[in-house]
Symmetry: C2
Subunit: 165 residues, 2 copies
């Protein structure tokens, strides 16, 4: 569903916001965290942006997507994040996909598919599951090479560090 | 899998810890939150206990299970909650089930199945999914009537309040 309802305007928008999500992913990289970034947008307003912080926050829950959901909920003073679009540099896992459904996100735009644990079309598709009470549009593949490069670079560096120990 | 590897000792333990989870659910009820409670245990130590607080915390993520995962991660200073057992009064949703997999929980014991969004056997079974990198034991049905009573009572009260408005 890579071009679902997409106009040239939409494509420009997706490119722009995914760029911000990639900048967040780079921040994660600099902090020695798996480089994944996310931005939550409503209309032309950025509600929240964050990057993966599972190591720093010592929490399995501190994925970029969960952090933006939390920040935006506080900002909007409630848990229903209607009419919002989530941009994220890697396909969300089951936990994050479940969170997106609970928060009633309207659309998710992700960069790189995750064949190991992606829950928005790769391993599962929890965000378009007819048995759950909310479904959303899914757009994938936006700036995927840049996201892949960051992740490959991160894990290459990790392996090199291991070899030096 | 209601009696998986269960000994009489295990059954007594499950009854006891589910009682604590039910007490947490009652606290949620008193706070006008959907009554769900959870307790995380390692050996004989209670690592964390919490109840649903989505309304108070204005967050779609503040399910009882997520709150205990967060609290226990902080306590243990890391995100791998190995050798732990989660007791919870309602079958976890996709988000929480995904969180349990990420946290490497060893076993989940839940009370009442959730036919609408349960992700530990009812709608999905994300916690025993061979395509993910961690799986756990699942035990269900412990003190299910008490959990059901609480939830029914909560929603009955909600409907009555609505009628009075």
């Amino acid at each position: 569903m890579d071009s679902l309802n997409s106009t040239p305007d939409d494509e420009e928008k997706h490119f722009y916001y995914m760029g911000l999500a990639l900048l967040e992913a780079k921040k994660a990289m600099e902090e020695d965290e798996v480089p994944v970034g996310a931005v939550l947008v409503r209309g032309n307003e950025i509600l929240a942006q964050a990057h993966n912080q599972t190591v720093q926050k010592k929490s399995p829950l501190a994925h970029a997507e969960m952090l933006v959901l939390e920040e935006a909920s506080q900002k909007l003073n409630g848990w229903r994040l209607l009419d919002t679009v989530l941009y994220v540099t890697l396909e969300p896992c089951s936990m994050c996909a479940g969170g997106l459904v609970l928060a009633r996100i309207q659309r998710i735009v992700f960069s790189l598919p995750d064949a190991k644990s992606g829950a928005c079309g790769s391993v599962f598709n929890l965000v378009q599951e007819v048995r759950l009470n909310h479904r959303m549009d899914v757009i994938s593949g936006i700036r995927a090479e840049e996201s892949l490069y960051l992740l490959q670079d991160f894990f290459r560096q990790k392996r090199q560090k291991k070899r030096l120990i």
